[in-house]
Symmetry: C2
Subunit: 388 residues, 2 copies
């Protein structure tokens, strides 16, 4: 095939002192910022002023793709929420409830899932028939407001999404919040470690990693295949199975392996819009969480496959699938995204659209079960046959 | 509340010598049965007879609920598949391909996911434009035929579904196929062990369990809650998080803890048709896999919640949700299932239908985050406030 290695500029995503401070912040620092914000509101009230909560504007108008950093970022536009404004009052009340709760969590060393905080805070306001929250989308929105207001991520507010994903390989972790358990993820049988919803440095210490790169894998069955083939040991890498779209815990883990240990990140998904999206979220971050790319993205991640070129290269025509109409529509939208605007991805997306084909990771089993582990991945990775 | 403990007969699900033999069977025994079956076909061909593959009839006509054993079972009706019958020939060919592949796996110590075997076997038959398989449903069906024909489960044919679920608690496993790794699932931080797709005794040895019962939990966020509250240590139990419907690996693990270690199994799901279904599959098995209940079911499992009674008992009216029309329909269907015909479940289902309400596990956070771990579960379990 002899595909040339794409000439890609290295991203100048050097962490600044500010970034690093934010990355390492623990409950104390975040608690302090919450208190500052709350003190400000109290002072406004005491001064007979309208208390105002300030957070970042989100949505496309304030989101952009930073070519230089290779990540999706949020701009500086702010939005104000006033208590003495009928249109804001309900949301202001909700914001205060969530802020106060997060402050409790930080003070008491508790953590909560976003669904738990919703249920915890839901009640009928005394003397009214008004509920604090009608459904979880209301509290979820307010959590995002709070993250942006105090410039952090929900995990550092001790709030989290559901856990998902598996870690396997020669990496030793210490859980500082769980009797300082120390364990190596190559020694947990073929199952591997269930990745938690939160992977903050003050809780989970990455003591040692013996690997040349991190391989992120879309399907849990492909992870099992690579474990059975002893791929991680033979190729000196860490395997992270995401079971579909990567949960925040898995993304934070991959980000930390990349940022703290300078490990290259290689992503292996199905060759279809869903797989490409999984890749792009790991690499650049997502529009919905643009301000969090700093904590979650890996701008130098590479895409190893499946590619449309693989179909011809390995004679897999027989095991492709037709793209559904929705997939084609999605692929066309992706053509317009800034982060897919490089020639390699434009070519990939256009070929996929014109062929109308998708191909799954597991289709490689058509060659043989071990083919993915003994031929496909080692050769492509050695030759750096990546999409950028 | 003082609900009386339901007077339930203990199930006489004593394993027979035959059951135990089947339970413990490894690749050698299964390989031998495959060979016997294949030899039979070869003899038929040599004798100029029409080769005939025999398997169990499935579907409602051959499925029943064994009151005595407390599990869903498959009857003795057989179905024949002949090579020299135009209506059977294609499926006969498919059956032979899958059988031969499974035999390879067993001989070479390989395992494969059901999607892999599909991709591995898919090709165009030489000299024709006929594909061996058009889509995975065809190979999936044939795998089930083979399981029934040689009286075993796919895991023992070295074929498996996707892994899902997490194990946490004082249980020590040894993975005999992975350098004899030995690890304790209370010492893997708060993440826990990622349950494999296959938990066969010849591969995964349960070396030691220090627990009074197994708690099976529907949502991964609730598992995280109980881990954070140190529930497993404080209540001496094993936690198995299924992340929704339990995957086969998780069911096999729970079954083994019940069968090999006589640990009671207590199931904790959302109070809705999906949760009840998760429970019933763990307890009685499923209609689709009736013949496999022996390997997968836990007929003496109990249901701790969420129940409709909990709503009143704990003042959770505010955090219930309306059942969707589909849920109500599903609940009505469940009323007719033999295994929900006991008075306790009939009352539960009828109340849920008439109120039109469902309640989630995480709604307990409305009391406090720790309530589920310090009050709800310990008290209900101590008082045996279970549904049968």
């Amino acid at each position: 095939m002899a595909k040339k290695e794409p000439k890609e500029k290295a991203h100048v995503h050097k962490k600044t002192a500010h970034d690093l401070r934010m990355e390492k912040e623990g409950p104390k620092e975040i608690g302090r910022r919450i208190k500052e914000m709350a003190d400000g509101l109290v002072e406004e009230i005491k001064a007979n002023q309208d208390p105002t909560f300030i957070t970042s504007q989100r949505g496309r108008g304030n989101v952009s793709f930073s070519e230089a950093e290779g990540i999706i970022t949020l701009g500086d536009k702010k939005t104000h929420r006033n208590f003495l404004n009928v249109a804001h009052a309900r949301k202001f009340m909700q914001t205060m409830l969530v802020t106060s709760k997060a402050n409790d969590y930080l003070g008491n060393n508790k953590t909560a899932a976003i669904r738990e905080i919703y249920y915890e805070l839901k009640h009928t306001v005394g003397g009214t028939d008004e509920n604090t929250f009608e459904d979880q989308s209301e509290s979820d929105g307010v959590i995002v407001d709070l993250e942006h207001s105090v410039e952090t991520i929900r995990e550092k507010l001790n709030i989290h999404a559901n856990p998902k994903g598996t870690l396997y390989g020669d990496i030793t972790l210490i859980d500082r919040m769980h009797r300082n358990d120390e364990f190596n993820c190559l020694k947990l049988g073929r199952g591997g470690w269930s990745i938690m919803s939160r992977l903050e440095p003050n809780e989970i210490e990455i003591k040692k990693v013996n690997a040349d790169y991190v391989l992120v894998i879309e399907t849990s069955a492909m992870l099992e295949r690579l474990v059975e083939e002893d791929y991680a040991r033979k190729n000196k890498c860490i395997l992270v199975g995401t079971s579909g779209q990567a949960a925040r815990g898995a993304r934070r883990l991959v980000h930390r392996l990349n940022a703290e240990f300078k490990l290259p990140v290689i992503v292996f998904t199905d060759g279809d819009p869903y797989g490409w999206y999984i890749y792009s979220v790991i690499k650049q971050g997502s529009m919905a969480l643009a301000a969090h790319s700093e904590f979650l993205a890996c701008p130098d991640a590479k895409y190893v496959g499946m590619t449309i070129e693989d179909i011809k290269e390995y004679g897999l025509e027989n095991v492709t699938e037709k793209m559904k109409e929705m997939d084609v529509k999605r692929a066309k939208e992706m053509l317009a995204y800034d982060w897919f605007k490089n020639p390699e991805w434009q070519a990939e997306l256009k070929t996929a659209i014109s062929l109308g084909k998708r191909i799954e990771q597991q289709a490689l089993a058509n060659k043989s079960l071990e083919f993915v582990a003994t031929e496909y991945l080692p050769k492509k990775i050695k030759k750096k046959q990546f999409l950028p």
